[in-house]
Amino acid sequence: MPARGSKPSADRASEKAKAGTPEAAPAITRCDGVLFKRSLHGSLAWLAANRDKVNELNVFPVPDGDTGTNMLLTLEAAVDEMGEEDNSDLSAVAGKVAHGALMGARGNSGVILSQVLRGFAVGVGDRSSVDCLGLAQAFAEATTVAYKGVTKPTEGTILTVARRVSEAAAARAETTDDIGDLIQHVVTAAQRAVDETPGQLAVLREAGVVDAGGYGLMVILEGFLKTVRGQDVQAQAAARSAAQAARPAAAVAATAPKVGAHALATPEEGWGFCTEFLIEKPSQPFEVVREKLTPMGNSAVIVGDDSLVRVHIHTLDPGGLIAHATAYGPLQKLKVEDMTQQHHEILSREPVAADAGEPASEAPVAAASNGTNGHAAVSTGNVGVVAVAVGDGFRRIFEDLGAGVVEGGQTMNPSTEDLLQAVEAANSDFVIILPNNKNVIMTAQQVGDLCAKEVKVVPSRTVPQGISALLNLDPDGGLDANATAMTSALDGIHTIEITRAVRSTSVDGLKIKDGDVIALVNGKIQKAGSEHAEVIDGAMDALGTDGLELVTIYAGADVSEAEAAAIAEHVQERFPKLSVDQQRGEQDHYPYILSLE
């Protein structure tokens, strides 16, 4: 039975429900298709409720965190595949789940999740139900398949969480017949593994977040556990969604990351008081303030620098915290919220809250259908090309160059199925996919196995890279020769992406403030500042323009013609040796994307 200190979930409702579980309900000793289906529905609801939190666990403070959305849409496709009717045969249900996930996989984390679910189905084999040992075997196979699905498995990610889960399952299955107990241990292991990810990956440590994919997997397992424990996950999810909606938007962006991780991982202190404040010009260095305040509560997110510290802590004793913090300077924008109270209010409005929760699981459906309008790839001679792009301008450019365009990119990664449809619509049996985003590459790589056509992925990580690759398509060439030539064209292009930071952080020693204009040079944050022109100059200097001839400036959807022209003129003046080509990409979130070659 579960140890007292390792409860999975952050709300009191689950506390109560759990307290009497072993005595009140007979232990469930087998997992069949019906239980698995119900549990996955629970996972889906819980993930939907926690989607924003997962999205916000982004290493870069760029406004395109979408791990939560990707995992949710992937899981949703898996759940949908199970259909309305119950089927007690676990092997049949798990098989459907694996297929649905594979088709619906979006983003890297979605693809890995689909591999986890596929491995689970493989582990179940032809068994119509499994006991704890069988479940542990399925978890083990899930981990194996997931690791195999990644070219270079990295620890400190969803893979690590999957592995720790399967190890915990294997260990616990030796001593328990109770599925609930097994999953309880699995969830505890997942929480620990998630908490430890910053210790394994420096980028997470620096950004002050836990791994988003791993966190997402933990949430899925929590949803599973809640169902097995007989809790009303839908209601809890609705309450969670409502609680999130109640938080001020700024606080979400600035403080969300560790709220998720720690609220769930350390529920024994209850909800307490969500306490937030700023300390301007603290009397002690930032690091000292963070070190001193962090142990005073849970879910501490303390960010900033020596001139401004933003503090977010959940504590049972806000008075003590405030008294302590004032030692470092006067507190500004102080806000203390009684989360227990808030939570109870939400629970007491349950019918309303349940309704409010619906959109959390409905919204992605609408979004998904937006994302699936894959257009037929126009065949250019022997080889068709499918390109992923967001923004009407980029769509026109890709279509102009003869590619079929699948809507997607930074904030809405297309699913395997979206890409598959576009590939099948291509007027050629040989198709090249340009993912144009690092989070779409793995999804694209799934397509070849699912279709009769010959498919190659040219792993373009940015839209300019994709355009460059497409320009190198030889209309008379074959698939392999084109894929090779197009892939080698990727290296000749430098990409600068200009966006705005959505939280304060530091990356590679570069201090970034919430709202700063930031430049990613070939995917790495290199420059922060307040003006577009200044940041573009800095990014181009950092890149070095010797030997380059042409800069193409793609203006975003929110940039006016006049602004774009002014930036183009500025760049031309500042870098007189370069030719400047001014285009409209009409992309979201990124006012400017520059391609240098």
Binding site: I397, D400, L401, L471, E549, T552, S579, Q583, E597
Partner: protein
């Protein structure tokens, strides 16, 4: 000794032709109602100056068979003639030459379609000139030319497809592809067939594509760089080719006939590859 006859589109420099005793028959260039004998009444610089000022593209017309008869008859009867010309797909010049040759019964005239143009035809002419210098007879010279002909290739880096489209050398549909971005179209010609290659966005990319193209065809046996109002680009291209392949690289200009379609701001490499590919 075998003598060589060419047309003005081969773009070999006049002094080089004179030194080798090559006879050149000019095409006609028409700006509106005005007509000029290519290279004779209008040199390449004058042509591009004029091209800058017009809204309607000039046209060109093949030499008449009569012009070829005159040229052939100017060569002593005892000397066999090898007559090398612009690809039949691009101009009726070779037809005129054939008609002229047929009319001059009893003369040994071998008319050869180079399958190329400008320095592509020029390099093929140099194969013949070198074979003659080596003392080979007309049959052997013709054989050397025919052997090299399939390996003659040109890759041109254009500033725009506008002139090629206006001149009817590229369809509007084909020309429209990639027109949103600023690109440098690349065209290749081999064995009379014009193909559009993947475009470049910068000169540097264009040069690299030219280098790759030559490598794909086994490296160069003969090599020339040419330009239409882009001497700097030609020099840069030459430098890169020298570094890559070494050996002698000739420099030349693209004349009026091809210049009409390539437009100003074009650089090209003409070469005879070691393999046909």
């Amino acid at each position: 000794m075998t003598r060589l006859v060419v047309d003005s589109t081969c773009d070999l420099p006049t002094d080089q032709m004179d030194a080798l005793g090559i006879v050149m028959v000019p095409l006609q260039v028409h700006f509106g109602d005005e007509s000029f004998k290519d290279k004779i009444e209008m040199d390449t610089d004058a042509f591009f100056d004029r091209l800058d000022t017009v809204t309607k593209l000039p046209t060109t017309s093949q030499p008449s068979p009569g012009q070829f008869i005159e040229a052939y008859e100017a060569i002593p009867e005892s000397e066999p003639i090898i007559s090398i010309h612009i690809a039949e797909q691009l101009s009726g010049t070779v037809q005129s030459a054939r008609l002229a040759a047929k009319q001059l019964t009893g003369r040994d005239i071998r008319v050869i379609d180079s399958g190329s143009v400008t320095w592509g035809a020029g390099l093929l002419t140099m194969v013949a000139a070198d074979a003659i210098k080596e003392g080979l007879d007309a049959d052997a010279v013709e054989a050397a030319v025919m052997e090299a002909k399939p390996r003659v290739r040109m890759v041109a880096i254009l500033d725009t497809l506008k002139y090629a489209i206006m001149g009817g050398r590229v369809s509007k549909v084909q020309g429209a592809i990639g027109s949103m971005l600023r690109v440098k179209p690349l065209m290749a010609i081999q064995d009379g067939v014009i193909t559009r290659l993947a475009p470049a966005r910068t000169w540097g990319q264009g040069y690299q594509k030219a280098v790759d193209d030559i490598k794909e065809h086994g490296g160069p046996e003969r090599l020339a760089v040419i330009h239409a109002r882009a001497p700097e680009a030609m020099k840069d291209l030459k430098q890169i080719l020298e570094k890559e392949f070494g050996g002698e690289i000739q420099e030349g200009t693209i004349g009026a006939v091809v210049g009409t379609y390539a437009g100003p701001g074009a650089a090209a490499v003409a070469y005879i590859g070691k393999k046909a590919g």
